[in-house]
């Protein structure tokens, strides 16, 4: 396993993926945002405010998706002791935290005109806030422990414990019947929103996904280079 996923392999893979991911990101985000903001119908209940949803819903999906990426990386790091997996978790965390924060902020901006308040303490909002704190805790733990490998493994344990929160987020709208509306796209019986609204939503979602790939690769490269630097420093100290 170590042989097939070393930094050199990763760099080769990243080089071939990067231009594609970047193009997809630019195209889908540009077209998605154009449709979302200018060329889609206003909602008969929500009016123009519905346009916030095109940012909000995919951001919330990404918040959960990135957490799962982090959790899988953490699991790999703990079970197979793979150094790239530790770095993958570290690289993903700030991106996930950013998406979660975006979901929370756009949700609050939408909530003010719709619900008459920026924030309610219902199951969905609270569990997403908890997810944001879990991201912060994960990053803080990485920062706090000096030895990088120990720090990464400690943070990985926390990430795995926090996985419990994911189903709570997903099902909170069903378990607690509160202000936040239930799922309308990710449903077993098919989406319940009109296709004019579904398309921009999916375009933005793909755009976010592509952005994640681009940012993730950038951050992975940064972390790998930092590791190289620290190995070189170690060499110098050991040599001198």
């Amino acid at each position: 396993m170590h042989r097939f996923a070393n930094p050199a392999q990763f760099n080769r893979l990243a080089d071939s993926v990067m231009p594609w991911a970047f193009s997809v990101m630019v195209l889908t985000l540009a077209s998605g945002l154009y449709f979302a903001l200018f060329d889609s119908p206003a909602d008969y209940q929500q009016g123009e405010s519905v346009r916030i949803m095109y940012m909000h819903v995919p951001a919330a999906w990404m918040g959960m998706f990135v957490y799962m990426v982090m959790a899988v990386a953490s699991f790999t790091a703990l079970v197979w002791r793979h150094p790239l997996a530790l770095i993958a978790g570290k690289a993903a965390a700030p991106i996930g935290a950013m998406f979660t924060a975006l979901a929370l902020i756009t949700g609050a901006l939408w909530g003010k005109p719709m619900w008459g308040t920026y924030w309610v303490w219902d199951g969905r909002l609270t569990s997403v806030l908890v997810q944001f704190f879990l991201y912060l805790g994960y990053m803080a733990l990485w920062q706090a422990v000096e030895d990088d490998e120990k720090a990464g493994r400690a943070a990985s344990i926390l990430a795995l414990v926090g996985v419990v929160n994911i189903p709570i987020i997903k099902f909170s709208v069903d378990w607690w019947n509160t202000l936040h509306q239930p799922a309308s796209v990710m449903r077993l019986d098919g989406p319940t929103i009109h296709s004019d609204m579904l398309w921009p939503l999916l375009l933005v979602a793909v755009g976010y996904q592509a952005y994640f790939v681009v940012a993730f690769i950038w951050r992975m490269r940064l972390e790998i280079n930092l590791r190289k630097l620290s190995v070189m420093r170690m060499n110098e100290v050991a040599g001198g």
Binding site: H2, N6, P7, A8, P83, D147, D148, E149, K150, I224, R227, K228, S230, V231, M232, M234, N235, A238, G239
Partner: protein
Amino acid sequence: MNKAVLRYSDDTQIMAEALTCRRGGRTVFANMSFTLSAGSYLCLRGRNGAGKSTLLRLIAGLVPQSDGKFVVQAGGQALDIKSSLLMVGHLNGLKPALTLRDNAAMFQKVMTGQNLDQAVLQAAAKRFALAHLLDQPVQYFSSGQRHRSALMRFELVSRQIWLMDEPTVGLDSDNRQALAVMMQSHLERGGIIISATHDPIDVEGIELNLDDFAPKQIGQNSLESEWL
């Protein structure tokens, strides 16, 4: 010379083959091999940071090895390291609010589930000139007295393998002699001692210099070379 009344099993063996330990991306030692049998004393030497403490913790099963083979066995069967080993490190593991007697009783009870035999405690305390301090709270002890209190533990519970990290630090010549006598009698009973120390102790043993197993250069480490 008196024969030991109670002996540890004679076929206990500690074996390290091509043992390598990496921590935090750095190779601490590589390709280390040694074999110890009942009654032998291994004295670890080497500069600071050569990995003496790391090796002791690896033997105790706290630090995982990165490569190579490490086994503790008796008669071809893997030995439960937890019930056959005792380690005293830099830290003395004493609770300042409790008296030395209570500390010893607590230690004995947690390590074996049995109550402490006061006669054993008396004898152990006497060896390290601590008998008059048994009922004093440890918080009033000097660092030398604390260190001797920690060493005293080797006599409280009976474990075949002793791991000692710098056992001679802060000991005067009398107490160093007492330590040597204690170690000698343990070896005669078939015990195994591994100690990391700078100072010489008056006990016959095998020397292992960890500097010999220092990585020649960091590039030797395959994982690290991948990063470059």
